[in-house]
Symmetry: C2
Subunit: 449 residues, 2 copies
């Protein structure tokens, strides 16, 4: 176990120091370590006992790291994560990934340590098992940083809304895709250009798949749904669609018709169960989510009593994520001192998670159709046949006849009323087969209306 | 003590019911009572023990009230608030005003009851004494509903940011004035017209002084500052300026120059102390607070680690406020069962509250000046003399000479860099005395930049 400058000697009546083990020393871990070392007194005062950072587990302790050897004493680093966990009262896991994070957290829980994690992938996949283990051991497993970085959402939903009933959560929970869509909107960029720009600015990874295809958002959707509806949802139950098919034209059309395109994580409770999905959606420009620009995140919650609420802030980054981790750590320390805040499991129900086709949403469909009388009636007929009613239709003059063609084309923009995803999908398929339809230019869902 | 349908018989192992006394049966009280009666099982499950509404204290029990006699059994009403309080485990105060609320809350605290209040006026005036009493008695005094209605702000700031440091809070905490300013902005209304409209819609009282002159916002600013900086601020330490001098022209000019006018409650920590103030301010249109429309509230928090955060929702109304009260009630019940969450006082510092003149802000000043060479230099000279530097100047052609006058007028729009309120005020006074200055058309502070 690495040695460390001891915490200030406690006065005789003071509680003993709580030993904090940090797993991981990346962008978040470094900031957590710095704060624990530089603001030890302040954090300890808030926690109610000295918090002593006893070690930082890393894969390769010899690798040079920012801050290590200067602010962070080199002796704190260890490659023996297991011994570190075994001697800790509080374990902070910011290594990410499934293994060895899962095994180390299980080990910490089983040994009675209180655990704070920022690991969304792990919670989205293994959350139910880990929470069950934490309940069995009577320890806290805190995860504010795993949902939306710095944005406080766990306490507001779990505690502030404890006397209310959440109906729906709409979240912009991936900063990279929000930045990309925002750039497409404000500068008319195509997706590939905007992604390239995001990569240059460090907002997007070299391989942007996890963000662009909605995997990151889907993990957070699973955690949000579990939180909002006191049930267990895992990532494989989340219907997921990324932004890779969104074009500059889609975004421009959206704005022209009063919408912004956002990648949303959606969790809704219906009488039949819980619907959890991630997909690009049109959000009305006067909706608070439409004003969330750049790489910011926001979570919009609709509750029966409170009405609409929104929580806005930075969803990623070392310091913002560390802020959420430290908030959890202080709470976990307080709970540790009084013996725990009690079981999580008891408050959980087991609601059915609906299949994607059962979700209720609205579509906005752009079509190119033959420009001749009767076409709109045919199109409307297809919608009616599928039980989908039309909210608005907007017809735009298209291209004149080319060559020997009989008719030119017109552009139709249909917005539907709410209907089942399955009916909407079947409608689009039928439209695609309709003789006068030349092209289905785009299909986007509308949310937040 | 009024009789009441007993709570469901608890199973042998279940904890005893917690007796809830409700003080007040207005718009908020009615909703709290309904929820306690209609969702008793759900709330009890979340609280960890049955919550039994044992009585509702009102001034006149014979007065007809919505819901009383139907959802709310008439026998629950009592005019004997003191006996009701004496027999309660949990006391919910939603009567408002200073007395008898203060005396009843003190009585509850001294008897060891946990208290939930939505009373911002009382907390802004008597908060320090009440929190001290609660700490001495080892009971919770919860007040989420007193800050911004349904918007969760107490837990996020106190717990989620426990490992961070709040620098500044900017709040739109009065829905009436936000609605009024928004109507002035979107429809070009004058203040008096917009206030009249707000009155017709029920957003403003017949006597709108408390809202329009910023008294309501000042009470909330005091509570917010106490919360954000772990110190004690009372309403008489808050510099307050309402929106009564804001004209349609001010709002139109603001928009033309890239700002929205908002009534802000501001709490800032500087190296010298805490500055707490309420005044109308220009907020850049791309700032999240500028997108807060209608009667909505929002609280923007800047923290060292988390960066910018915003919390948005309904700041008033029976059901939203009741949602916050019920959230507190469930938490208070949980704490009551385990013996309290511990002292509030320990975490509080005693920071100096700065006098209004010490606040640092920016001014945007509109002037009518004589339209002749050298005037801008004279104006700039006045600013320089007071150590105030100019950010931007915008000169607009004014009126041509009238009658026998030598010169016409031009309009100047000056935006300053940040400076002390005292220097800015002195600058404006000096400009007012400057020969070529015909009129100081408006002076507005700029915040959020």
């Amino acid at each position: 176990m690495p040695a460390h400058t001891p915490a200030p000697v406690p006065s005789p009546a003071a509680p003993r120091a709580l030993r904090v083990a940090l797993l991981g020393c990346g962008v978040v871990g470094t900031q957590v370590a710095r704060a624990l070392l530089e603001h030890a007194e302040d954090l300890s005062a808030r926690a109610g006992a000295p918090l002593e950072l006893v070690g930082i587990a890393v894969r390769d302790a010899s690798r040079p790291r920012d801050g290590v050897g200067t602010v962070i004493p080199r002796e704190l680093l260890t490659e023996d994560a297991e011994s570190l966990v075994d001697g800790a009262d509080l374990v902070v896991e910011v290594m990410g990934g499934i293994e060895p994070a899962r095994t180390l957290i299980r080990r910490a829980i089983d040994a009675g340590a209180f655990v704070v994690t920022a690991n969304k992938a792990l919670l989205a996949e293994q959350g139910p098992a880990l929470f069950e283990a934490a309940d069995a051991a009577g320890v806290d497993l805190s995860f504010e940083a795993a949902v939306a970085g710095a944005i406080p959402i766990v306490r507001p939903v779990r505690e502030s809304l404890a006397g209310d009933h959440v109906r729906r959560v709409l979240g912009i929970v991936n900063g990279t895709t929000n930045y990309v869509l925002d750039q497409m909107d404000t500068h008319g960029l195509e997706l590939s250009q905007a992604v390239k720009e995001a990569q240059e600015l460090g907002y997007a990874e070299a391989d942007p798949t996890a963000d662009v295809e909605g995997f990151d958002a889907a993990a957070k959707a699973a955690i949000l749904a579990s939180l909002a509806f006191h049930t267990r949802v895992s990532i494989d139950q989340v219907a997921r669609e990324g932004i890779s098919s969104v074009t500059a034209d889609d975004v421009a059309w959206a704005r022209r018709t009063g919408y912004a395109v956002k990648l949303l994580a959606i969790a809704e409770q219906t009488s039949e169960g819980v619907s959890v999905r991630v997909h690009p959606a049109l959000v009305p420009l006067d909706h608070p989510l439409a004003a969330v620009r750049g790489a910011f995140n926001a979570i919009f919650v609709e509750a029966d009593g409170a009405g609409p609420l929104m929580f806005y802030g930075q969803g990623a980054g070392g310091r913002p994520t560390a802020s959420a981790v430290l908030g959890d750590l202080v709470s976990a320390a307080r709970d540790r001192l009084v013996g725990g805040k009690g079981p999580h499991e008891s408050a959980y129900a087991s609601l059915p998670v609906l299949p994607p086709a059962a979700a209720v949403t609205r579509y906005q469909v752009r079509l190119l159709v033959a420009d001749r009388p009767g076409v709109l009636a045919q199109v409307a007929g297809v919608l009616a046949d599928h039980g989908v009613s039309i909210d608005t239709v907007r017809q735009t003059a298209g291209e004149p006849p080319v060559g020997g063609a009989e008719t030119g084309t017109a552009s139709l923009l249909l917005t539907t009323h709410a209907a089942r995803e399955a009916s909407l999908a079947a409608t689009v398929e039928a439209l695609d087969g309709l003789e006068p339809v030349r092209e289905i230019t785009s299909v986007l869902r509308v949310e937040g209306v």
